[in-house]
C-alpha cells in the first residue's frame, strides 16, 4: 500500500486535523500509511475530497486531549494523535485509561506540557499601559513555547473583559477591544510598550516579599525557569536579592534585641478592649451601616421599647409594612399581637419588641411584595446583633415568637409544637410560643379561634412570668 501525505497548516491546525482524521477513518487508512507534512500549504493533495467525509464520534476525553495535543510544537504530534484515534476506534475505546501505555504516556506528557505552557502564560503575561492613548489600553509581549495563542484567549477575556488589551507574540497576536477578539500576524518585541509606571512599584513589592533567611533559587527556577525571565520585569532584582541575602540574615541574627523606643501605650491598650457598643443607638448604627444581607429592603428595622423592659418579644423579620414604616410589629400580625396583649393586660409600650432578622426579605409578585422566610444561615448572620441587643436591654423574660426566633435565640432549629412554653435562653428566662402571623394563616375560623385562645393563654403566662420574683422565680399567687 502506498503512503498518503496529509498537509496541515503551520501551528495548531485543529480544524485541518479533524477534517483529515474524518477522511482517513472513512478510507480506513492505518497510521503507518500516513505521512504528516507541516509545510503550511494545505490543499495540495486533494483536500477537496476530505470535507465530505462523515463525522466520527470520539470519547470526550480523547477529543480534549487532541485539542491540547495539536498545540504542541512536536512535529510528530499529528502522527501520534492519529495513532491514538485509530486505536480508540479499532477496539481500544478505553485506551486512555491505560496511562502506562507508551503512546498514551507520550501524548499525556505532551498535553501536560501544553497545559503548563498555558498556565505559565496566564501567570507571566505582563501588561503595560500604552502611551499616548486617551482611553486605557494595555499591551504585552510574550513568548509561548507551544502554539497556544488561540487557546489562551478565553482566559484573558474572562479576566480583563472591561479592558482594551493586546497580546503580542512571535507566533501571532490578538487584541480584545472590549467587544471583539481579533487575531493578527506574528509580531516583534519592539511592537510592545517598553515600560509602565507601576513596574517599579511592583518590583519593590517583589523585593520586599522575599525572605533572605530562606534563599532557595532552585525551587524558584523549577517554577519560573530562566527562559521566562526576560519578559518579567521583576526578575531583574533576582541577582541582587540572592547576593545580599546572607549578609542581611547575619545582620539580623547579630543584632541584639533592642529596647522599645516608645513608651508602653498603656492607655491605648486599655481603650482597645473597650470597643463594644454601649447603647442600643450605637448597636443600631452598626446594623444600619452593614446593610441588608439579601438586597431589597428599604431600611433596617430595629427593636423598639424601653431600654430596661421586663419582656423582650422576638419575632421573625420585618414585613412589608414594617419595612416601609421602619418599626417592628406594625403590620397585620403586629395588630393581632396588640389585641392579644391588651386582653391579658401587657402594656405594649412597656415591652421591647424586636425581630431575629432586621431586614425585610421578599419576592416581588406584580405590585405585591410577598414575605419570604429567612434561611438558617441568614438568621445566624443577624444572631450576634440580637444577642448584643438582649445584653443591652437585660430583660427578665425573652419570648420567642415562632420558629425563626427560637432558632435565633438557641442557635438550633426545633419545632414550636414540641417546645412551646417555658424555656431558658442562655442567661435569660424564656418562653416559646407561635408567631402571630401563624394565626392569620390558619384556614378556617374554628381553628383560628382555638389557636388564638391558646396564644392568649401563653401571653397570660408570659405576663405572670415577667412579674415573678427574679431571685426565687416564684410566681405571684394567682398564676398556675
Amino acid at each position: 500500500m502506498s503512503l498518503h501525505c496529509i498537509t496541515l497548516k503551520d501551528g495548531a491546525d485543529l480544524d485541518g486535523f479533524r477534517r483529515a482524521v474524518r477522511w482517513l477513518m472513512a478510507e480506513e487508512l492505518a497510521p503507518q500509511h500516513i505521512v504528516w507534512s507541516l509545510d503550511g500549504t494545505p490543499g495540495l493533495f486533494g483536500d477537496d475530497g476530505m470535507s465530505s467525509a462523515p463525522p466520527i464520534s470520539l470519547p470526550r476525553s480523547v477529543a480534549r486531549l487532541i485539542e491540547l495535543g495539536v498545540c504542541h510544537r512536536d512535529p510528530e504530534r499529528y502522527a501520534l494523535l492519529y495513532q491514538l484515534v485509530w486505536r480508540v476506534l479499532n477496539g481500544e475505546r478505553d485506551l486512555l485509561e491505560i496511562a502506562s501505555d507508551p503512546l498514551v504516556h507520550r501524548i499525556d506528557t505532551m498535553a501536560r506540557a501544553v497545559r503548563r505552557d498555558l498556565h505559565k502564560m496566564y501567570a507571566f503575561v505582563r501588561f503595560r499601559r500604552m502611551r499616548g492613548e486617551d482611553l486605557e489600553r494595555f499591551a504585552a509581549w510574550y513568548e509561548p513555547e507551544h502554539f497556544i495563542l488561540e487557546t489562551s484567549a478565553p482566559f484573558f477575556i474572562d479576566r480583563f473583559r472591561s479592558l482594551d488589551w493586546t497580546i503580542l507574540t512571535p507566533i501571532g497576536s490578538m487584541r480584545w477591544d472590549r467587544h471583539e477578539l481579533t487575531f493578527g500576524p506574528p509580531t516583534r518585541r519592539e511592537d510592545a510598550p517598553s515600560e509602565d509606571s507601576f513596574e517599579e512599584g511592583w518590583r519593590g513589592y517583589y523585593e520586599s516579599v522575599f525572605n533572605p533567611a530562606r534563599v532557595n533559587p532552585t525551587a524558584m527556577r523549577a517554577e519560573m525557569p530562566k527562559k521566562y525571565w526576560r519578559n518579567l520585569p521583576e526578575t531583574a532584582s533576582i541577582p541582587g536579592l540572592i547576593q545580599t541575602a546572607s549578609q542581611r540574615v547575619d545582620a539580623m541574627i547579630e543584632q541584639e534585641a533592642t529596647m522599645p523606643a516608645k513608651r508602653m501605650p498603656e492607655r491605648a491598650i486599655e481603650a482597645m478592649w473597650d470597643q463594644e457598643p454601649k447603647t442600643l443607638e450605637e448597636l443600631n448604627a452598626i446594623i444600619a451601616k452593614a446593610g441588608p444581607l439579601v438586597p431589597g429592603a428599604t431600611q433596617a428595622v430595629f427593636g423598639e421599647g424601653p431600654k430596661r423592659a421586663d419582656i423582650v418579644f422576638v419575632g421573625e423579620q420585618p414585613g412589608d409594612q414594617e419595612d416601609i414604616q421602619g418599626r417592628p410589629f406594625v403590620g397585620p400580625a403586629g395588630k393581632l399581637l396588640d389585641r392579644a396583649m391588651k386582653e391579658v393586660g401587657i402594656d405594649r409600650s412597656k415591652a421591647y419588641l424586636t425581630n431575629a432578622v432586621k431586614h425585610f426579605k421578599f419576592e416581588q409578585r406584580g405590585h405585591r411584595r410577598i414575605h419570604s422566610k429567612p434561611t438558617a444561615g441568614e438568621v445566624k448572620h443577624y444572631r450576634p446583633w440580637l444577642m448584643k441587643e438582649l445584653e443591652l436591654v437585660r430583660p427578665r423574660l425573652v419570648v420567642a415568637l415562632g420558629g425563626t426566633a427560637l432558632l435565633a435565640l438557641t442557635g438550633k432549629s426545633t419545632p414550636i409544637s414540641r417546645s412551646r412554653g417555658r424555656a431558658q435562653f442562655g442567661p435569660y428566662l424564656g418562653y416559646i410560643t407561635v408567631h402571630p402571623s401563624y394565626l392569620l394563616r390558619l384556614p378556617d375560623e374554628a381553628t383560628k379561634r382555638e389557636a388564638y385562645e391558646a396564644f392568649v393563654d401563653d401571653l397570660r403566662h408570659i405576663h405572670d412570668l415577667a412579674q415573678a420574683d427574679p431571685e426565687t422565680g416564684e410566681l405571684p399567687l394567682a398564676a398556675e
Binding site: H105, V125, R159, S162, Y205, V215, M220
Partner: protein, 404 residues
Amino acid sequence: MDEKLSRKLRILADAAKYDASCSSSGAPKRKADIDGLGSTTGAGICHAYTPDGRCVSLLKILLTNYCLFDCAYCVNRRSSNVKRARFSVDEVVTLTIEFYKRNYIEGLFLSSGIVRSPDYTMEQMLLVAKKLRREHGFRGYIHLKTIPEASPWLIEEAGLWADRLSINLELPTEQSLERLAPEKDGASIEGAMAQMFERIEEAREERRHFSPAGQTTQMIVGVDDTTDVDVLRSSAKLYGHYDMKRVYYSAFSPIPDSSAILPLKPPPLMRESRLYQADWLLRYYGFNVEEIAASSEKGMLDLDVDPKLAWALKNRHVFPVDVNRAEREMLLRVPGLGARAVDKIVVARKHTTLRLDDVARLTSGLKRAKPFLIAADYHPHGKLDRQELRQRLIEKPQQLSLFA
C-alpha cells in the same frame, strides 16, 4: 506610581511576608462582568516566584503595621522598632486594581496590625473589600485575615466579601500563647474559627456566598519546644473540627529587631518541609497522627527521610505490595507512589497487567518505590530486609522545594 505609595508598599509588604499562606485556590469559577474586572479559575495562579522559592499570587500586604499587640514572634509587635506605615483604604484599592490590570496578581490578601481596636481595624479591612467588589466590580480573589478579637458581626460580614478567611493560630498550645502572645486568647481564636466553619457550611448548603474557599490557618514552628507530633495533633484537630482547607507551617525565621525571649537559631527549613509532607499523609494518604508519631523519634520527624518512607522502614512487614492486586489504601502507603500515580495504577490495571516499565511511566519516584513493590515481572526479594536500605534511600543533601 507615586513614590510615597511605593515606600509604604515596601514596608507593608515586608511586614506581611511572614504569613506563609499564598494560595488563591478554591473560589468558585467567576468571570468579569462587562464593566468589571477579574476572574477566578478555581485552581489559582502563581504570578511570580521569589528567590526563596515561594510563589507570589496575591498582593499580600498589611493595611498598617502599627500594632497594639505584643506577640514576641511578630516583626510588627508594638515593642519592635521597625519602620511603620499605614495605607488608606483607597490606596489599597488602587494598588490592587492597578496591579491586577497588569496581570501581576490574582487578587488581594489583606491583613493588619491592630490599631485603635480590633473592631475598628476589621472595619477598615472590610471597607477595602467592599469598595473593590462594589465600586470596581472586582471579581478576583480576596483573602481577608480575620481578627478573632473583633465583634462576631464583623466576622459575619467578612465572609460576604472574601473568598477565603483565615485566623492564624501561630502557637499550637495555650501555654505558648500565654507566654509569647499575651493579648491573644486560644478560646476566642477557636470561637471565631467555629463561627466561620458554621457559616461556611450553611452558606454552601444555601448556595450563598460566604468565604467559599473556606478557611485556613498557620502555625509557627521552632519558636518554642513544641514537638512535630504535637503540631500535627493540633492540625488533625483543626482539620477535623473546623474543616480547614490548609494548615500552613512557617519555620520561625530571624526577623529584624528580634525579641529577647526568642531562640537565637532558626529551626532547619527541612523541618517545615517534613511537616508539610506529614500533613499531606494525614489528608490524602489515609494516615493518622499516631501512626506518624510511632515512626518519629521523641516526637520529632526524621529529617533525613520523608515521613512516608520513615513509616515504611519501620513497618517493613506489610511490604512488598503487589501493584496489580493490592487495595488502593495499601498502594498509597508505598514510598515514591503519589496519590495520582496510585489512581492511575488502579484504573490501568483493570485493562492490563502492569510491569515495572509501566509503573515507571506513572511515577517519578520509582527508585524509592522499588524495594516496596511487586510488579508482573519484578519482585524485590531480599532488598526489603537489608540493613542499609534506609542509608541507600536517604536523599542527597539538596534544597528541597517548599510546599508553601
